[in-house]
Amino acid sequence: MKNGVKYIWMTFVLWVWALNVGATGASVVGNELQQIEDGLVVRVDSVMQQEEQEVKAFDPKATIFEHLGDEYGWTIVGNVTIPLPVIVRDNEGGWHLFSSSRLTGGKTYDGFHVAHEGDHEGKIVGVDTFGNEYRPYDFSITKNAFSVMISALITMLIVFSLVRFYRNKKYKAPRRGMGGLEMIVEMLYKEVIVSVLGKESRRYAPYLLTLFFFIFVSNMMGLVAVFPGGANVMGNMSITLVLALCTFVVINVSGTKEYWKEIFWPDVPLGLKCPVPLLPVIEIFGVFTKPVALMIRLFANMLGGHLIVLVLISLIFLFSVMGQVVLGITTVFSVSFAVFMNLIHVLIGFIQAYVFMLLSTIFIGLARVKKEG
């Protein structure tokens, strides 16, 4: 147990280090360093200058949502972008596959370009024969899709390292990182899955554990400011929607006869269900609200964390017009708060993954009701 706490702390330190590397990386980009004593101000100022070159007035809302949103290439710093494949199907049924670097700067390729305004702002649009913009079927591997793949790979790496450990040293107690990992697995399996599902835990454990580790790894990756991380994955409705959908399917596929009976014909006075099916309607509604609540909870929590950090950093740019002193003070204030928020976010990332998995377990447990007695 003591070891476990130690490794959680080590992880904390690691993430803080990663965050710092990210911040330093951002500062290095500024190539015209002014000689100001405060290092942080130097850093921010240089970024500011670059920012000013691109856009005249700083628009926090646009910047924040640009950072939170998805994009076709993966912008690391400034103009350094990792191109990602764009896969689209036009309205005539033809498939197009090309690199996202062909679209940078508003270029048009194969009749497709990234819309700058309108309903499809920031998305790839094609132009049909009448000259109207339309949205093609877009299967592009965007920044988020790519990030999801990286998270999946890392999850696999972590989990298989545990499997390998078990295979090699069967009856040895794991130490160091392996011990922390096993502690988490053991906690989830013994105290959540087994205590809720009992005998059926072996059947559902793979799904629930995968769920937890994938969400947790994605959340942690989202906190790393540099390339393999930094994408706002779990703060994107599309991602949490899929997870909630999977849980929804698992819950309802494993629903017993009793579960469905409680939905359509619950044990309540006849008046509540016969002429007007009041309770059945509520119950059916409940079937859908459970996963939706899961989806919104994870999405909002992770988005919130990213948003707060971005807002705090944006404050620096907003206050920068009021002179060097204010800028300096704001910078110190904002950066320390942002680091603090990031630390809290590590905790939230863990807790939200845990909660998502815990509630999924409980919902599955509720769907596996057996007739009493």
């Binding site: 949502f65 939170l68 949103g69 998805d70 896969i87 920031g122 998305k123 079927y137 877009d138 299967f139 592009s140 591997i141 965007t142 988020n144 899709a145 999801v148 793949m149 999946a152 999850t155 696999m156 989990v159 298989f160 545990l162 499997v163 078990y166 295979r167 069967k170 009856y171 096993e182 697995v185 053991e186 399996y189 072996r202 454990a205 793979p206 799904y207 554990l209 995968t210 580790f213 994938f214 706002n232 703060g235 994107n236 409705m237 599309s238 991602i239 929607l241 899929v242 997870l243 959908l245 999977c246 988005l303």
Partner: protein, 165 residues
């Protein structure tokens, strides 16, 4: 804003990636991990149980050894006592046997002494009788023939003499 409206492409890729991840982990990783964890927990439980049993066995063995030792002591003591008793008995027996023997020997001796005494007496009597006859013969020479009645009378006389003694 694309954050709130699910993007079809992203949903597709996410679904694909998540299902593949789930498939791989569910097939190759989690069952193995869960099984190994259970196995190791069982192993540890068994180990603890085994140790406890071994401890109990050892205690039992120790107790048994102690009991055995006490029993041996007791037996030894008993044997010693028995030997002592046997020795005493043997000595007593031997003494008794010796006494008996001695008694028998004494009795036999007495008997033989008695017999020889009697024989000697008888012989003596015969000699005395014949001597007295010879003496009487010599004394009376004539009268006293070596008749039967005379011999009887002399025997009677001798008996009287003997009884007088």
């Amino acid at each position: 804003m694309s954050l709130f409206t699910p993007e079809f492409g992203l949903v597709f890729w996410m679904l694909v990636v998540f299902l593949i991840l789930f498939g791989i982990l569910a097939k190759y990783a989690w069952p193995a991990i869960v099984r190994m964890m259970d196995e190791r927990a069982d192993f540890i439980d068994k180990g603890v149980e085994y140790t406890r049993e071994a401890k109990r066995d050892r205690e039992k063995a120790q107790e048994e050894a102690k009991a055995l030792l006490a029993e041996a002591h007791r037996q030894q003591l008993e044997v010693l006592q028995q030997t002592e008793r046997l020795k005493r008995e043997m000595i007593a027996d031997a003494r008794k046997a010796a006494e008996n023997e001695a008694k028998q020997v004494r009795e036999a001796a007495n008997l033989s002494i008695e017999q020889s005494k009697r024989e000697a007496e008888l012989q003596l009597r015969k000699q005395v009788a014949s001597l007295s006859l010879q003496i009487a013969e010599k004394v009376m020479r004539k009268d006293l023939a070596t008749d039967k009645t005379q011999m009887e009378m002399i025997g009677r006389l001798l008996n009287e003499l003997e009884n007088k003694e």
